[in-house]
């Protein structure tokens, strides 16, 4: 019996014009780990909701076809009964924590099934140990960070030992270390308990290597269904936005087959003579001593350098953080003597594990929090874009949220009449960015007004102070690769125009795309500060897939740079003209030109 069967399922949300799922047929066998890929708004989350019965039982709408979970038809069985077979984790973990303490949260599903207290205690202990959240058991669910909330919500979903686990971007709030650990845990659950897993994820490079199968969704339909390698081959031609960086590197280099993970990619490169046998990824980029830009030579030294060379004033310095401490009242210290200088035109990726202090540092920079000790000085306005763009939207129309000029700058002028909550993830993020950044200048007289919009007319005549520093807190959460690329380009443009950009992110690929400097925080301290290529090239966790494939060589972080490096290497190898490296050199040079 199959774990999950979709048979010609078409589903529309109430009032929706087009179906969210269209004629979807799928069969997922017990013990399969499937990755669900696709751009935002193409039906991945809806498919998961249908798999656990929430669509249509909970969300309403029209439903045709059938979904069967472990033999139970979701039309005949409510989600509460299907909940005994499925464990689900959706995008926002905060609303999936319903009890006061972590222990009570994990125990809830077991207690609801009427298990004995001993069984409940054992179940709670085991799932907590498996997820590494045993230290959180007595904590209040209100006190958890985003990453901790996600792990606890996952624990609650797994506590009942479901046969089918449905996960909607479970790593979106996790740092690279926790994200990798989570994928490893899912693989273990899948292998040791034969749990069927359906995982929806944008960062495919994290999970594709662990998957048995990849399913691509496009406009509510299944666009591709096959093994991960086949999926990447398909994506190269049909959906380039779904390619992993490794697959893109190979595609740009004219190599094949598309690798589903770093190991396979390195093996292929080694077999083609493009990676020396037995070479291991260096701990630091070639020619750069490990730790040369670590804390001692990082923030404080940089601060001294900048201020010293500029007579203490530092004309190019837009933000200076000096000896910044922040302690939660009657709580722990979140920031411990942070020094950071941000200059005009710089684009900085602020990285570190969950709870390292990234968000707190950005809030300090924007003046939302007062330092316990130390100073934050800015040469002008520091605009901060908080994690959830929805928090900015107070009105029914996009035009009411920001001026036309700001909307035009964000490329949203055509959406002025839409409801902000109906926008895609990328569009919402751009709108929020327009709201916090403003338009930076007075709108010229005679600009076209939307009819009858007095409020808009008032706002359009205002002069908005352009920010000197733009800070973004985890802006790519839930974004697909296409939207991330657009945001990275926008941030690059802003940095190019003289603003400074600071982005707190867990996504090394995004950091590489948008930043030229990386600052690594740990336990409230700056532990490394340097060029992004230098910092991310040699890492295990804080590193891009391209860098991991190439072992950090040439400080190549992105597929384009990696392909260029491989082309140069192919040229340098002086292989016979018919050899693979010669072919690669030709392809890469042709492609890059």
């Amino acid at each position: 019996m199959s774990s999950l069967v979709f048979d010609r399922v078409t589903y529309s949300y109430p009032g929706a014009g087009t179906p969210a799922l269209q004629d979807v047929s799928l069969r997922i066998e017990p013990g399969e780990l499937c990755v669900l890929a696709g751009l935002s708004g193409h039906g991945k989350s809806t498919l998961l909701r249908a798999a656990c019965g929430l669509a249509p039982h909970f969300y309403g709408g029209s439903f045709a076809g059938s979904v069967t979970v472990e033999g139970l038809d979701t039309r005949e069985h409510p989600p509460s009964r299907l909940g005994a077979l499925t464990g689900a984790l959706f995008q926002d973990p905060e609303t999936q924590l319903v009890m006061g303490s972590v222990r009570a949260e994990l125990a809830l599903v077991l207690e609801n099934r009427g298990h004995s207290p001993a069984m409940v205690a054992r179940g709670v202990e085991e799932v907590a140990l498996a997820l590494g959240i045993d230290h959180l058991l007595e904590r209040s669910t209100r006190d958890l960070s985003g990453g901790e909330q996600q792990r606890v919500a996952l624990g609650a979903a797994l506590a009942g030992r479901p046969k089918v686990v449905l996960l909607d971007e479970p790593t979106s709030q996790l740092d690279p270390v926790a994200g990798d650990e989570l994928i490893g845990l899912l693989r273990r659950l899948n292998q040791e308990w034969d749990t069927t897993i359906l995982l929806c994820e944008h960062r495919l490079e994290r999970c594709l290597a662990a998957a048995d199968r990849a399913i691509a969704m496009h406009e509510g339909r299944v666009a591709h269904d096959g093994r991960p390698g086949d999926f990447l081959e398909w994506a190269r031609d049909e959906a380039p936005a779904l390619q992993t960086p490794g697959a893109k590197l190979f595609a740009l280099s004219g190599l094949g087959p598309a690798p589903v993970g770093v190991k396979q990619a390195r093996a292929t490169l080694r077999s083609r003579g493009l990676l020396a046998d037995g070479s291991e990824p260096p701990l630091a980029a070639p020619g750069v001593p490990a730790g040369s830009r670590a804390a001692g030579d990082g923030g404080a030294a940089r601060l001294r350098r900048c201020l010293g060379f500029r007579g203490g004033g530092g004309e190019g310095v837009l933000l200076a953080v000096r000896g910044l401490w922040y302690e939660i009242p009657r709580g722990p210290a979140v920031l411990r003597g942070v020094d950071l200088v941000v200059e005009a035109g710089e684009s900085i990726a602020l990285m570190g594990r969950n709870g390292a202090g990234k968000s707190t540092l950005l809030r300090q920079a924007a003046g939302l929090l007062a330092p316990t000790r130390g100073k934050v000085e800015a040469a002008g306005r520091v605009a901060l874009l908080l994690q959830n763009p929805n928090d900015y939207f107070l009105h029914e129309r996009v035009a009411q949220e920001a001026s036309l000029r700001a909307l035009a700058a964000a490329g949203l002028e055509d959406l002025a009449e839409r409801n902000p909550r109906d926008l895609s993830g990328g569009e919402r993020q751009r709108l929020a960015l327009a709201i916090v950044a403003g338009d930076g200048q007075r709108a010229p007289a005679g600009d076209k007004l939307l009819p009858g919009d007095v409020q808009l007319a008032e706002d359009r005549t205002d002069e908005s102070d352009p920010p000197v520093v733009l800070a973004l807190d985890e802006p790519t959460r839930g974004m697909d690769r296409e939207a991330k690329a657009a945001l990275a380009a926008e941030l690059r443009r802003r940095a190019g125009s003289g603003q400074a950009v600071i982005v707190a992110t867990h996504d090394p690929e995004f950091a590489a795309a948008c930043a030229d400097r990386a600052v690594l925080l740990a336990d409230g301290r700056v532990i490394a500060d340097g060029p992004v290529a230098e910092l991310l090239a040699g890492g295990w966790y804080f590193s891009t897939e391209t860098a991991r494939i190439l072992g950090g060589e040439g400080e190549a972080l992105e597929p384009q740079a990696g392909a260029r490096l491989l082309g140069e290497r192919a040229t340098a190898l002086l292989l016979p003209s018919e050899g693979p490296a010669e072919h690669l050199r030709t392809v890469v040079q042709g492609g890059l030109e």
């Binding site: 009570a104 609801n112 298990h115 207290p117 979903a157 800015a378 709201i435």
Partner: protein, 333 residues
């Protein structure tokens, strides 16, 4: 921050170490004692005892904050009672003929009675605050689930939704503080929040040229309109949140849930101490009431019982409430 102040957090204190059912019962007895006693001296002693209990439980700051809130509530009670009550005989201020309201005679008895009611309201608020901060709601709900599952479900949802919505409101307000300055809408929002952007950092607003609430010059109508916008956004959020939480509960099998099995927990010395404390307080309050000790009548004229007996009762009640906090050995959060 006020929202956060009323939520349970496990701390190292005898009251936190006590099982939830005993902690809740102890709190209810304190409320009952407050309602049973009439003497201002005894009520004042109970206020002191509750503040002391809060300090003993490690939540003194929140309890004192609650006392300040109670004072804000208490003042109108006293004023209204003085203005409305006509039952006293000792007039301390004559306001003359107030037309349809008759003679405006303010009496000492009405003032004292208002103060007694205000003290009782304050005690009610203090005891509720103390209970919210020290009684584990999850444990309590687990117990209630055995008795009435649906009620416990509703209570679960309510207790969970309050902090979630408080968090939403906080995040929304924070997001509005990060909007680009200078637009009129932003000024209105900042003014409605009553807080200038960057106010937490002295001088930052001025240095960055940011708008100041006081300088906004917005009419109260505009401020009210913006408040309504913010509140409606929070309400809209709350509906979405309620839907999400309900979906989660559905998937966790609440609708199909079976009766939870009893979890045997051995009685600790803290459990016993608070049981003795609750019993003593109840006995003292009821006994005093029946025996007419610390009697206090206000209308038509103030009559006070024996001062010695009243003082003795107050001391006994304070001792009965606070003695369990003396044993702090081996307590872990």
């Amino acid at each position: 921050m006020m929202g956060d102040a009323l939520f349970y957090r496990r701390l190292a204190s005898p009251l936190h170490a006590t099982r939830a059912s005993v902690g809740a019962a102890w709190t209810i007895v304190l409320i009952a004692a407050a309602l049973a006693c009439e003497s201002p001296l005894v009520l004042a002693a109970l206020v002191g005892a509750l503040v002391g209990a809060g300090a003993g439980a490690g939540v003194g700051r929140q309890v004192v904050r609650s006392l300040r809130m109670a004072a804000i509530v208490a003042l109108p009670i006293v004023v209204v009672n003085v203005l409305v009550s006509r039952a006293g005989l000792t007039v301390f201020l004559r306001l003359g003929d107030l037309g349809p309201f008759g003679e405006g005679n303010l009496t000492l008895e009405a003032l004292v009675y208002g103060a007694v009611i205000a003290l009782k309201v304050a005690l009610l608020m203090l005891a509720t605050t103390l209970g919210s901060l020290t009684v584990d709601p999850d444990e309590l709900l687990r117990g209630v689930r055995r008795l009435s599952f649906r009620s416990a479900l509703t209570a679960s949802l309510a207790t969970r939704m309050i902090p979630v919505l408080a968090g939403d409101a906080r995040r929304l307000a924070e997001a509005q503080r990060t909007r680009a300055p200078s637009s009129r809408r932003t000024r209105r929002i900042l003014a409605a929040q009553g807080e200038p952007r960057g106010a937490v950092r002295g001088g930052v607003s001025a240095r960055l040229g940011l708008p100041h609430a006081g300088a906004c010059g917005e009419s109260s109508l505009t401020r009210a309109r913006t408040q309504v916008t913010l509140v409606s956004a929070i309400l809209s959020f709350s509906l979405d949140r309620a839907l999400d939480v309900a979906a989660t509960l559905e998937l966790r099998g609440f609708a199909e849930a079976r009766r939870a099995q009893r979890r045997p927990i051995p009685w600790s010395r803290h459990d016993l101490a608070f049981v003795v404390s609750a019993s003593s307080v109840a006995a003292l309050a009821i006994g005093a009431r029946l025996a007419g000790i610390a009697a206090f009548d206000v209308y038509p004229e103030i009559t006070v019982g024996s001062a010695t007996e009243t003082l003795a009762l107050a001391v006994a009640l304070v001792a009965a409430i606070l003695f369990p906090f003396a044993d702090r050995k081996g307590i872990r959060p």
